[in-house]
């Protein structure tokens, strides 16, 4: 049980996919302009990651090594397809806001990376927990980055204008601001980690 907890917690802190493993930066930079988008993307990624980890782990002895990548991609793409259709039907505003980044979850390196590094070699429950941990870690990182960018860049939080005394810096909702915030946060968090050890 303790082992499972450790698998879960590693995705959130010590091996956070964005700040430490540094994967999946493309949707991170693009989608973190507002908290709502970040939450939507985070939930979608958690769903796809958990489902694909579980299925791939279940089939890990059946899928031959030589064709593992196409098999993983088909599995992942199917789940992304389900998420996309569900979003278009039940949350069309979110789908419009996330745009092309929903189908791009298929090539999100975190998902393929965990399939290759973990799910293909570990039992189902562990893979599920790993997927959950990594997904939640991704979600939290995305949430923090988008909170900074939305508040400082447009004076809003989750779409609601907050009474700010400063003038929002538009650069933060643009691409260079994304890289700035990501870099500074990554530096800060790694520094905190180095202090603890």
């Amino acid at each position: 049980m303790k082992k499972l907890w450790r698998e879960f917690i590693k995705g959130i802190w010590t091996e956070n996919p964005i700040f430490f493993i540094v994967l999946g930066l493309c949707p991170t930079l693009a989608v973190s302009t507002s908290v709502n988008n970040a939450v939507g993307m985070g939930v979608a990624v958690i769903f796809v990651l958990v489902c694909s980890n579980v299925i791939i782990s279940m089939m890990r002895n059946i899928i031959p090594d030589k064709i593992r990548i196409p098999c993983y991609i088909v599995v992942i793409a199917s789940f992304v397809g389900i998420v996309e259709m569900a979003m278009k039907a039940y949350a069309p505003a979110l789908d419009k806001a996330l745009g092309v980044y929903v189908p791009l979850i298929v090539v999100n390196c975190i998902i393929l990376g965990r399939a290759e590094a973990f799910a293909s070699k570990n039992p189902v429950i562990a893979s599920l927990i790993d997927g959950l941990g990594m997904g939640v870690g991704f979600f939290l990182a995305l949430f923090v980055i988008s909170a900074v960018r939305e508040v400082l860049g447009s004076g809003k939080f989750a779409g609601f204008a907050i009474p700010v005394t400063f003038e929002p810096a538009a650069i933060l909702v643009l691409a260079p601001g994304a890289l700035l915030v990501l870099g500074l946060l990554m530096g800060g968090i790694r520094w905190i980690k180095s202090l603890r050890s």
Partner: protein, 177 residues
Amino acid sequence: MVRNDYFKYTLILAVICFVASALLGAVYSVTNPIILSQQALQEQSGLREVLPEAKSFEAVKEGENILYFTAFGPGENVLGYVFKASKKGYSSEIATLVGVDQAGVISRVKILSQNETPGLGTRIIEALWFQEQFRGKKSDNLSNGVQAITGATITSRAVISSINEKAKEIMERVHGR
């Protein structure tokens, strides 16, 4: 031996793909009707926003493309038209929905999509007066009555000229002039 391997690989991949497609097909059949009705609803609400007096709209198509919508009043009379004007602004294509009466006088405009510079070009959405100034103006003769946003000339001009040009095109089509 090798042929056996390839056969096994193909079989496994085929089975996985088959199961995946079956699953996707099932989800599609459930969600597609909802998606279509949503899209129709959004389209209708957009049209109504720019020509609120109209009771119903009918799309006028050329093949698969919708050229414009004819708007009908309560008594099945033609109230006006709704069309979409689109032009490249400073950094993106700006699409505007325009509702006009029979003579081409604008009822309302609504900027549908843009990706302009935040703080400068995006003021066309943030400053409400920009879209409101189009009300009551003649859509195919817009030159003097409308103002651009200071510091966002290219963006503003794209919107104004796209409406002007498209209006001329639609009025010609409709009135044959």
